[in-house]
């Protein structure tokens, strides 16, 4: 079963708009990570937020984490056509779960020029 579930499954926006996607998970975590995948390629790490953090920024990315609701959101501000990709959340439950990450189904983002 998947630990993380992204919502929405797909998102289409105009260049310059903001894109928001959400991730829900089921059990307690050490950290939550967001990855990006360009079509047919491997995943690239974007940002990591620890369980004791509530918000984190990296360039045009903003991630929030609400451990009471077991959810996270990724916001991409002022989107560009180059942001077109699939975005995945992944939960890390630490040594208790064998130090492995569990991924959700992803959100496909299309940014139209």
């Amino acid at each position: 079963s998947q630990q993380g579930e992204e919502d929405p499954q797909a998102l289409s926006i105009q260049e310059g708009e903001n894109a928001t996607m959400n991730c829900s998970y089921k059990t307690s975590i050490n950290n939550l990570q967001w990855y990006r995948q360009n079509s047919g390629r491997g995943l690239v790490h974007l940002i990591l937020i620890r369980s004791n953090e509530r918000e984190k920024h990296s360039g045009r990315l903003r991630v929030t984490l609400d451990t009471s609701k077991k959810s996270s959101s990724l916001l991409i501000t002022a989107s560009r056509a180059a942001d077109t990709a699939s975005y995945f959340c992944a939960t890390d439950r630490g040594e208790a779960a064998g130090n492995k990450l569990t991924f959700g189904g992803g959100t496909r983002v299309l940014v139209k020029p």
């Binding site: 998947q2 990570q33 047919g40 995943l43 130090n99 990450l101 991924f103 959700g104 189904g105 992803g106």
Partner: protein
Amino acid sequence: DVKVTQSSRYLVKRTGEKVFLECVQDMDHENMFWYRQDPGLGLRLIYFSYDVKMKEKGDIPEGYSVSREKKERFSLILESASTNQTSMYLCASRPFWRQDEKLFFGSGTQLSVL
């Protein structure tokens, strides 16, 4: 730059063939992982390895085996390929001894079993 290299970008095999997918990392990472990715299902963990000669089953190990004879290399083996193993296979690695570590991914191998 860190690098995870998967030996083949595209692979076409026949049902019943034995298939080897190779992954090499140059970062001296202890942990290595094999995932498969299918539309709508995200990434599912097949096997992972903590260190040389160590392996652990992931969520969907049936029909697969792995080999880790050297630290830098982690091989995924399909003993007798079947059409339902047609998928994108992704290898990843990360260090073991630090917490809060990200995964480094290879570019993926798109396997088609006919």
